[in-house]
């Protein structure tokens, strides 16, 4: 026996000089460095694409595009998708997907409107009820995914249909008009309140912001903080990366998942509120494409559909990229189909980059 261990000793002796785990590794090519930088900071790609597209359209269109008015208009146009995409990011970070986001947003807005106008509930309370309803639907999603162990795609596909149908049944597809809201319950349009910076004497041009835009930025900043600097955020990443490993290393995976879907529901309800501000009215038919548009923003933003990697800033940039392309191409006079085509290209490119970044692991 002892003669055998001697062999191993020799190997040990030979390796004594080296540390047990040597973390320094020579990084050879520039490409490697880029790959590493992206790995550490996945929001870089969409940021570069965003800046690149703004500059390109700026050069092509001049001040028509490169004006405070047009640039802030993009923010206004992406605010709803941006807010919803923030919620979608959370869910996708846990390796899930939420197809019910748009439906949750719309039903929340309908609840806010109908409680105020049909039942005469004070508008503050109606808004709170709407927000609660969105959160509750999200929590049900989370419970089905975390506790019942059903696939997120199926759960939210079902929830999407359920919520949408409930929305139409409940609202009887009645639109509550902007003018009624304005006179009776202006709080519903609160997130649509605009303010301008640098407008001319007639109040034209200049940078135009709405509270909804500010809210979108706040949601993104808040989530970026929560994901990066709180234990909850780390648990969200760990759960998405490898739920089993997370569970074994002491993360309460079920609670994390339910909280993620719940928070996503709440954010979507806020998006529903912002939607009222944006379109003025409460319309049960709006927001039909929000799930696809939010997933698009998330994917272009570099968040991996396999979970556990990517950042919320990326999503924000992703949403803006779509906005920039839409308005830029529109101002260029291009057919709207070109926008969809280019966005399709961006989606596939984004996923390809994601796969490439993942190879660092190998």
């Amino acid at each position: 026996m002892s003669d055998k261990t001697d062999d191993y000793e020799a190997v040990v002796q030979a390796s004594r000089g080296e540390a047990v785990a040597d973390f320094s590794k020579a990084r050879a090519s520039a490409l490697d460095r880029v790959q590493h930088a992206l790995h550490v900071n996945p929001a870089l790609v969409p940021l570069v694409v965003l800046l690149g597209s703004i500059i390109t359209f700026g050069l092509l269109l001049g001040t028509k595009f490169f004006s405070p008015f047009a640039l802030t208009l993009i923010l206004q146009q992406v605010q709803i998708v941006g807010i919803v995409a923030a919620a979608q990011s959370l869910v996708i970070l846990t390796a899930g997907i939420d197809l019910s986001v748009g439906a949750i947003a719309v039903i929340s807005s309908v609840i806010m409107g109908q409680f105020t106008f049909r039942y005469g509930v004070p508008v503050e309370i109606s808004v709170a009820i709407g927000l609660l309803a969105g959160t509750a639907i999200g929590c049900v999603n989370g419970w089905l995914v975390a506790v019942m162990k059903l696939p997120p795609f199926i759960v939210t596909l079902g929830m999407w249909q359920i919520v949408l149908a409930a929305n139409f049944l409940y609202s009887a597809n009645e639109t509550i008009r902007s003018q009624e809201i304005e006179t009776e319950a202006p709080l519903l349009q609160f997130l649509g309140t605009t303010f301008k910076i640098g407008a001319d004497a007639d109040g034209r041009g200049g940078a135009t912001f709405t509270y909804g835009v500010i809210f979108m930025v706040l949601v993104v900043v808040f989530l970026a903080y929560a994901l990066r600097h709180t234990a909850w955020g780390r648990h969200v990443y760990a759960t998405g990366d490898d739920p089993e490993a997370a569970q074994l290393s002491g993360v309460n995976v079920k609670r994390t998942l339910i909280s993620v879907y719940g928070v996503a529901g709440l954010i979507c309800a806020f998006a529903g509120w912002a939607l009222i501000g944006r379109i003025g009215s409460v319309s049960p038919t709006s927001g039909q494409l929000l799930n696809i548009e939010s997933i698009t923003a998330v994917v272009i933003g570099g968040i991996s559909l396999f979970g556990g990697r990517g950042s919320i800033m990326g999503t924000f940039f992703g949403a803006l990229i779509v906005g920039v392309f839409t308005l830029g191409l529109r101002l260029l006079g291009a057919d709207a189909q070109w926008t969809y085509l280019l966005i399709g290209v961006l989606i596939i490119a984004a996923v390809a980059v994601d796969q490439w970044i993942r190879k660092v692991a190998a």
Binding site: M1, A21, S24, T230, D241, A245, A246
Partner: protein, 254 residues
């Protein structure tokens, strides 16, 4: 010497299959006990009971003479029994520091921690770096490096360091060298000895006889759901151990 971890009369059945059949187990302070056994002998059921992943149908576990009941790995962890799973249970995309503190993150003191729930990254990184250094995993360039950028041996090192870092009483290592090459296995074995020298007893599950014979103080041979015998590696050869395991040879009286 009173064993630090002791199991008596463990029974675990899965339907008609009896995985643990009145099984006993002892781990003394400061020693490495290897658990060996043929596939299907019930090794992993035993380990799962000790680490809290499985609740036994009968029998009990004593930690430092105290009866303990685990209903989840977290319970066992709270009692100071850390397990390094074969899969390592790490999140590849997260950093070394994040992984080491997963599930027991430190928050900043004051308002930032209590209200804003902000993590104390600086402190976690420092502790992580210190723990890795203590175990000779010194040359860390970047504690914020993602775990997936590490080699298999390095990951194993981080996982063992994580287990050893939090005042644990017992560390269970499940096949720590199974996925590693010769050189990396060496480093991990060294690390195991290093951990023991710091007074933490280790339960080592392994199929690799040379590794077992090299580091174990005693070897628990598991067969047909129970402890067949405990042997001292200095008194027997590897082929003896294999013969006991497979039943080819009569076991010595325990």
């Amino acid at each position: 010497m009173e064993p630090i971890l002791k199991a008596r009369g463990l029974v675990k059945r899965y339907g008609k299959v009896t995985a643990l059949d009145n099984c006993d187990f002892d781990l003394n302070p400061g020693e490495i006990v290897a658990v060996i056994g043929d596939n299907g002998a019930g090794k992993s059921s035993l380990i799962k009971v000790l680490s809290g992943a499985v609740i036994p149908d009968a029998g009990h576990v004593l930690l430092e003479g105290r009866k303990v009941r685990f209903s989840s790995p977290n319970d066992a962890r709270a009692e100071g029994i850390e397990t390094v799973y074969q899969t390592l249970a790490m999140s590849p995309a997260l950093s070394i520091a994040d992984n080491m503190f997963m599930g027991r993150e430190l928050r900043k003191p004051g308002v930032m921690g209590s209200v804003f729930r902000q993590l104390d990254r600086a402190r976690m990184e420092k502790i992580a770096r210190d723990k890795l250094s203590e175990l000779g995993l010194m040359t860390i360039q970047n504690i914020n490096q993602a775990v997936e950028t590490l080699s298999g041996g390095q990951r194993q090192g981080v996982a063992v360091a994580r287990a050893a870092a939090f005042g644990s009483k017992v560390i269970i290592l499940d096949e720590p060298t199974a996925a590693l090459g010769v050189k990396e296995s060496r480093r991990v074995l060294e690390l195991i000895l290093d951990v023991r020298s710091r007074g933490i007893p280790i339960i080592l599950i392994s199929h690799n006889m040379p590794h077992v014979f090299e580091v174990a103080d005693r070897i628990h041979v598991h067969r047909l759901g129970k402890r067949l015998c405990v042997i001292d590696p200095k008194d027997y050869t590897m082929s003896d151990a294999v013969a006991f395991m497979t039943g080819a040879k009569e076991a010595p009286a325990a």
